[in-house]
Symmetry: C2
Subunit: 243 residues, 2 copies
Amino acid sequence: MRFTSEQHLDDGVHERRFSLGEIPGILWTPGSASAPAPLILLGHPGGLRRMHPRLAARARHSAAEGFAAATIELPGSGDRPRSAAAEEARADLRRALEAGEPVDDEIVDRLVLPLVEEAVPEWRATLDALLLLPEIGGPVGYAGGVISIGIRLAVVEPRISAALLFAGSFVPRTLFEEARQVNIPLQVLLQWDDEGNDRQMALELFDAFGTREKTLHANMGGHTGVPEFEGDDGNRFFARHLK
Amino acid sequence: MRFTSEQHLDDGVHERRFSLGEIPGILWTPGSASAPAPLILLGHPGGLRRMHPRLAARARHSAAEGFAAATIELPGSGDRPRSAAAEEARADLRRALEAGEPVDDEIVDRLVLPLVEEAVPEWRATLDALLLLPEIGGPVGYAGGVISIGIRLAVVEPRISAALLFAGSFVPRTLFEEARQVNIPLQVLLQWDDEGNDRQMALELFDAFGTREKTLHANMGGHTGVPEFEGDDGNRFFARHLK
């Protein structure tokens, strides 16, 4: 892991960009940490440049409660090389949506499964590197989107102790099965009117999670309309489980 | 309104029993209030004696955040005179449930509608009386069960500014219609595994509420298994809207 730039934000948060091999990422650490900070991995749908303002806002909100936060670019997004197969699956998905047709499970599998297969080891390698830093320590949480990646990480990565997942559509059936194996505390955010999101499927997925300690927070509005108070709720969720 | 007994609890909370005509009730006020306290009306399924420990715990939790809380006995519950029609409807409901039959809308209407018709004016009269007390003032919230009563109150009582409703079954169809007229902030608690509770109906009711400012919190477990942290979440919900 190589730090490529750093910046001290006005709230004292330290924002550092890094590269882990070919993977670009960002690490935010609280300004006033006396002990190693628990870490929250921030998931997102890809495209770090576009996502940066929202991710930085979440990271700074978490830093105010003493958490470090980190994110990496997804395979095939941002400046990372595209995969022809993923681009083809994305085009097939777009065609189905534009035609108003139901999206075939086979398209979802082609789009999401390779992404999960590739992204999860990258998140784990990032975690290996981050946990070597003296300012990072203790339990780890995962917060954010691409819920399929969150599910797989929660199942395979024992260092992740709690996850705050954003409900999203296009979850392969096999990930529903894996969801039954998730046994860490979960908070699931659902935007009730999210047009790009199948509400019934999101409720079924919430039902499928194997953990007994799961809470669903549903709010009105579309994909990007999560109310501000959910940021505080998220901090308290992680404070309960990571501190 | 006549106070019939009073007690200072060890956290400084002042618990007073009262009668409003034939209706028994309880008022809890915070020990250290300097200004008139915002008020939370605590709904419950009836039977103040049985419900007292849970209600008192909720009231004390709210008092710690500066809220007063009050509750009254429901018509036909506790020591209040029974209604023959309500008892008959309750017996019909029990028969249907024991026989594993679907519960007829007609039974639900006979059971719940007269209760709503009678209880809501009693709650409003209680509110009239409570708001005359110098220690009570400012905005009012409703928190608790018999969701049908909460819906009607939210629609007809302009002094109620926010409601925290516990999802429950046996909501008459006409109350679904009234739910569309609710335009105050809502937080709805749903126990996902509540055997006495139709989850799909609860989700439909949440969808029906007319307000844009509504949040659903679903947790695992049965009817009485609401996690402790929801008490804090409820306080914060009311702090956002009543302070």
